[in-house]
Symmetry: C2
Subunit: 355 residues, 2 copies
């Protein structure tokens, strides 16, 4: 496996357009209201202008990409739900009645589901075009016993995410990330612990609802797994291969692909933020394209967001994933663009300014 | 002026429907996701079911009512903007290019503007039907020198708000509150200080952007005004008459009217929360119909929200008013209803539950 697509994609990520950002700032400074009185939605408008390179940033065609994969670490008993739920939920997404379906619909977003590494054959669903098949393997290996995947698979998974971004970029103005994978708070926590050089206990949460004893167990398993695998924080692909997941790689690849195409990408909760951290390690400039949607209940996200320098827009006590937080945040994106493009300035409206 | 409409309206406020709330809870508990994994939007869905008395709460027809009024206290120099801006902004609302217009449009909400007491004659705008004329007077008196309004005017203003709610209730599923009135953080702070028995300095903020010296001045003016007027916290109408405002009374009346019609009402920022506090003092049960939209930059809102027992949905560093926070929160209302009514349960979807 060569690194061509990955290397080339990273090289294409330029960062925000300073001129468009300045132009947007100038307009926002003059809108008919006390200065910057719509606070964070104006900050968001600035970012959208910088990312899209326009004071009329396009955000109409919204695509939330739900990356799905399974995790060998579930064998160690880190999750309340059986692994089979991953494929059951993927079926739920296809049928349209899961959380992400209804919240994406509310926000005017399309949902695309990608099989990055679900442990069952989704052939029948993939054939109908309901899901995009980029399966790397039937789930990762149990990283309590050794690496989650090979280095080649890690690169392959990242490139699959990039590829999906490229494929969807033509019909997408703004991306959102999402995830499905029973057990995936474990690799996410392990990745954040490795990248941020933090003790496991500081970045592990209750996932789908562990009690105190189960949480202690999860921490112990991840501590041992990190000791065993010893991922190198300076080598992002090593971290991914040793303690990551296929859907997390897919999210990171999607972010890099979106950034290379100069499209904004709304980052969902903890799993997506772990993917964003991986993307940022591969391309620090990719951070300029990321919009942090919401603060997850999972505490590991705090460290990851701080590392990325991002403050999430929402705090609604979500802990679902799937892209649900990204979907809700899409409403704020629309609002931010409306502020930038539809409000009048003081002079346009002939309204008296502050003394 | 008799108190018939006010008394009768308060008597009609029944509180949430416990049966519909329980039914909604039962369904939400079984949706295909870890328990309550969409956190605050599920709490919101419960409230909407309880308020509307249905597990299919209607929220489609959204009306944000912007109450406008002027304030004699501006003569004391409490605001950066001249009083004339109130009418200029009302004209902006009518023309459709202010913050509330664009954010309401994004959220699918209609904006109604009510002249509760603007200091100019808005006859020409009122004639076209662009604004609802409920003018009590050409602005309040300067409450640094005596009461802001008479007790009769206070009741009249509350009843005007109730009347507007009744008039709009037929074409409205869910209300939002909004305000416009240069100087209106001053009466709002004074009301919150009086109702919550707090020192003025704890509930006064920078309004449209005061510097430190101007803030100190505002605090001193309000301290003196409260000492002079000595409003009785146990008599809500006394507090309103002595240190309130016409648009704040209109907001309180609107809330009471919405509650009496069993419609949810989304409470905007600081001025609206002061109005909500007044409504709650007149009818504690009216709190059950209120949805707190966002945390304002104005610090007086903290005390008012705590008194109401409400945690706002959003914190976007808004300090504009107009109903802008309520408009953004309407998106979350739609999402909450979608979760309640469109997601499948575990048994409907045949997805395995937690072990």
């Amino acid at each position: 496996m060569d690194m061509d697509l990955l290397t080339e994609t990273v090289a294409r990520i330029k960062g925000q357009d300073g001129a468009a950002r300045s132009q947007a700032k100038e307009r926002l400074d003059q809108l008919i209201m006390p200065h910057w009185a719509l606070g964070r939605m104006m900050d968001l408008a600035l970012d959208l202008a910088g990312i899209c390179g326009s004071v009329h940033p396009a955000v109409k065609r919204k695509t939330i990409v739900v990356m799905a994969g399974d995790h060998g670490i579930t064998e160690a008993g880190v999750s309340l739900f059986p692994k089979e739920v991953t494929v059951e939920m993927v079926r739920g997404f296809v049928n349209g009645f899961a959380g992400i379906n209804v919240l994406a619909k509310q926000a005017g977003a399309t949902v695309k589901i990608v099989d990055m590494g679900v442990a069952e054959d989704l052939g029948s669903m993939a054939e109908g075009g309901a899901i995009i098949d980029r399966k790397i393997a039937f789930g990762t290996a149990n990283f309590a016993d050794g690496p989650a995947m090979s280095r080649d698979q890690a690169i392959q998974a990242l490139e699959a995410g990039i590829d999906v971004a490229q494929e969807l970029a033509e019909s997408t103005d703004i991306f959102g990330t999402g995830d499905m994978g029973i057990g995936n708070t474990s690799p996410s926590s392990a990745m954040v612990a490795a990248f941020c050089r933090l003790p496991v206990a500081e970045v592990v949460g209750r996932g789908t609802g562990l009690d105190d004893a189960q949480l202690e167990n999860k921490i112990a398993i991840l501590e041992k797994a990190l000791e065993l695998n010893h991922p190198d924080p300076a080598d992002p692909i090593d971290v991914l291969a040793k303690v990551g997941g296929f859907e997390i790689a897919g999210i990171a690849g999607l972010i890099l692909g979106a950034a290379a195409a100069a499209k904004p990408i709304v980052i969902d909760g903890f799993i997506s933020t772990a993917g964003a951290l991986l993307a940022a390690r591969l391309s620090p400039k990719s951070k300029e394209y990321m919009i942090a949607a919401h603060r997850s209940v999972e505490k590991g996200q705090v460290a990851a967001l701080a590392d990325l320098g991002k403050e999430p827009l929402l705090d609604l006590q979500f802990r679902l994933g799937e892209g649900t937080g990204a979907a809700v945040a899409m409403n704020l994106v629309d609002g931010a663009v409306a502020i930038l493009t539809e409000m009048a300035t003081f002079s346009e409206a002939a309204v008296s300014e502050a003394k």
